[in-house]
Amino acid sequence: MSDELDGVAGYMQEAKQQALENVEHVAEGVAADTLSEGKLFEIAQSIGDKRLEELNVADTTCGYCAVGCRFDLYSDGEEILAARPTAEEDAPVNGISTCVKGKFGYDFINSNDRLTAPLVRDEHGEFREATWDEALTRVAEGLGGIKETHGGEALSVIASSKATNEENYLMGKFARQVLGTNSVDNCNRLCHSSTVAGLAQTYGYGAASISTDDLEIADCILLTGSNTTEAHPVLATRIKQNVRDGADLLVFDPREIQIAEYADQYTQVNPGYDAVWINGITRYILNNDLQDDQFVEARTNGIEDVRESVQEFTPERVEEVTGVPPEEIASAAETIADADACVFGWTLGLTEHSHGTENVLAMANLAAVTGNLGKPGTGVSPFRGQNNVQGGGGDMGPLPDNFPGYQDVADDEIRAKFEDAWDCEISGEYGYYTTQMFLAADDDDIKGMYIIGENSALSEPGVNHAEDVLADLDFLVVQDLFVNETAQYADVVLPACSFVEKTGTFTNTDRTVQMVNKVMEPKGDSRPDWKILQDLANRMGRNWDYDDTAEIMEEVNSLTPLYGGISHERVEANGGLQWPCWDKDHPGTTRLYAEEFNTESGKAELQGVGYSEPAETPDDDYPFTLTTGRVLYQYHTGTMTHREEGIMQYTPSDFVEIHPDTADSLGVESGDLVTLESRRGEIVVPAQVTDRVGPDNVFVPIHFAESAVNRLTDEEHLDPAAATPEFKFSAVRLRAAGPEAEPTATAAETTMGDD
């Protein structure tokens, strides 16, 4: 990085830089006429290397999805200038690969509307700039006042899976120790919490059992509810490479997504009934004696319960409910049974249902019945979404029912350990899950919220309801990089900084803990989350004294057996460590369940799964099924990607995928505006006519504030075990919006800055 110098020195510094450029121009002019292309490339490389010496370079872990790609980022101190491959041993998941977002998606860091100072409300209710001292005082008074009057249980914290493990550990600690509430949760509730519940019930750990390498050595991969090429592009690349080399790929999905083009078998399923077709496959396997008897006998309990429960899922019934013909159930079952090693992969198509946990239980049964666990090339692999939702959202315990390391809040012994370490009393009653917090606020049970790096005003189901809740809270503090749609409701907004401005760790989708290294200083007066939390805790009567995040991780080690041996030093030296890692001498765990399951019996506890269906099925009034999801060039509510000019040129706005037959019946063509209406709201978006979806289904991306598809989704019907909302199934009706209509705009649509 260039030093900024004053006066003559500054001028000469610049002159020197210009001189170097001049020399390069001379070299170009001469070289173009006299040198071969090979030599030109060598020269260009040399010049490039010399210029790069002047930049800050750090290897770090991607802040978009949870694949856990690592690469070098280059910065001049103001912005991220480039992402390039780091040493391959430091990038165990991606090697030299990155997707378009990891490679180019960094304009948000230096965007004009990035918040660089705290905001409070003035006497007219408008935002004004405040000092950190004033803002933190207001937060301490706001949250402290509610605690004093109504008790800590009237407060809740939504932690951020964008933040580091260390920061998420502190978010959980802050909620319980400082605020006195167990109502702390995060975005996992909106995505894979049903995966965590289902896998934990069956195997013991709510996480992927595989290492990413298993995707390349499996003989067979079953993918469902996963638009892998768009949501997890680097994983998709590894899967495609394996398929190219001969592995079988089975894809079950309501949409004929791109990965289906590589599949040996693509089966279009009706959305909302995944346990039905999965049970159909398990039934075929058991009834045709294709199961792995040795594995089932030695390593599972409950096979008879499963055998009995799947009998109702006859081929005829499966076809009637899911649309999957009997021969496709049979062929998938035989392909899985014939394979020596099979991985079962899924994303939110399986989990974002009012019965998502049952879907996952059915999948866990199938993997166990076929003996595909604990061996190379076998296992279950939920592909996690947010960069650190596995570590920050789960492992670090910002959860209403678990301390760090999935230690149960209701367990007296465990709770006593944390009460002792944190010097506080902790209730044994579970707090509210994120989705429940918004319902509890309706009942006046939650009066204040502290939302960190989460855009609830767009991401919650039924956002009309979420907006009302946010507006009605007694006190709301939002900690974020931007005044996003949620922060617009806040009493105080605290400016946080991004992953390139701080140091810590993320844990990726295959349990690998990896370093996040600071590439540039925080923008303006923004601060890392851990420092904000520490300042706030100390204003509210505590005495936190962490010098850095490595010190926080040491505290995590002492309280969290899964992370007992994971230190910054070891993570840096090893290029990542996979949990469980019990102590400083433990090498980490490449693949779960090689010897035994993490249950009391040491065996997989299988349980039968009966018929389940969506909470709201189509009827005459709302005859179509809406599913929501992601597109490659955007990310979540667009906070990061909408500030990237190139990305916005490619995917600038929302759309609805409609089958050609449906489009014909509505009289619309691609580009025409269509009104989608559910029992909770309506939006107007342009049609994209495609047979990727079935004639009874439509699909809308989740990324755009202006159309906010979650106006249509249901906030009330949640998975009973995991409280996950049913984003993947809403009954809607459609109509052509007509030539005079305009696309929907939200009340809180972001219009500022360069967004």
Binding site: G7, Y11, I47, D491
Partner: protein
């Protein structure tokens, strides 16, 4: 309870932070003009002479005959020779060559600044030609020493002008300055002003396309183009006002 507000004070945003340097500098400039208007006006007049001299120098260089061009090129840090004789192995060493030349060239730029600061603007055309022959370390050393010996208030004030040129604020400020009464130069105030102005450099680090280089690109040989390109760009580094028009 808080109603949603989209109104965010710009002072709390990164866009404002990025612009803050300019705002601060502008305020300082206004203050400085109040104190030193006459001196600045005088320096601006000499700066116009500088422009004329630079323009002349460019024309001299552009119309040089082959022999002169060759001489210029050869002495311009031996780059052309390095490129002509470049072997495969030699390509790898180019970065080292670049590094050494960058230092030399920076020193040479300093030489030009020195001459300008000493008021030798009328001789600059000749200097420009001579400069191409004066890259020997001994001569660079000699000129650099001369600069060090001349660290006067004039140098500081000239630096103010250079900054004004870079910011494109010069013309407006000159008009303002003419209306101001003559005030004694206060070295401390100038120092403070200079520090602020130095911070303004950020905005003009992004250089414009080499328009003048394009004008001489029609010359016959690649060597000539290279040498002249170097020289013209070097002069442009000093004469930013020319490029700004």
């Amino acid at each position: 309870m808080a109603k949603p507000s989209q109104s965010v004070p710009t002072t709390a945003t990164n866009g404002e932070r990025k612009n803050a340097i300019d705002e601060e500098g502008r305020a300082t400039l206004e203050n400085a003009l109040g104190k030193h208007g006459a001196e600045l006006a005088a320096l601006v007049r000499s700066s116009d002479e500088l422009d004329n001299a630079l323009t002349t120098a460019i024309l001299v260089a552009a119309s040089a005959d082959d022999e002169e061009v060759e001489h210029i090129t050869d002495s311009a840090s031996n780059l052309v020779a390095a490129a002509d004789g470049l072997s495969t192995e030699g390509a790898a060493s180019l970065a080292t060559e670049l590094g050494e030349n960058a230092d030399d060239l920076s020193d040479s730029l300093e030489t030009v600044v020195t001459l300008q600061r000493e008021g030798h603007v009328d001789d600059l055309a000749a200097v420009a030609t001579a400069f191409s022959e004066s890259l020997s370390p001994a001569e660079v050393e000699e000129l650099a020493t001369m600069l060090e010996a001349d660290g006067s208030d004039l140098v500081e004030a000239l630096d103010v002008v250079l900054t004004l040129q870079r910011e494109g604020d010069l013309e407006a400020l000159v008009d303002t300055a003419r209306t101001l009464s003559e005030i004694d130069l206060d070295p401390d105030a100038v120092d403070g002003m200079n520090r602020f102005l130095g911070a303004l450099g950020e905005a003009q680090r992004e250089t414009e396309p080499m328009g003048l280089l394009g004008a001489v690109s029609a010359l016959r040989s690649a060597d000539a183009r290279a040498g002249l390109g170097y020289l013209v760009t070097l002069l442009k580094a000093q004469g930013r006002r020319i490029r700004g028009r």
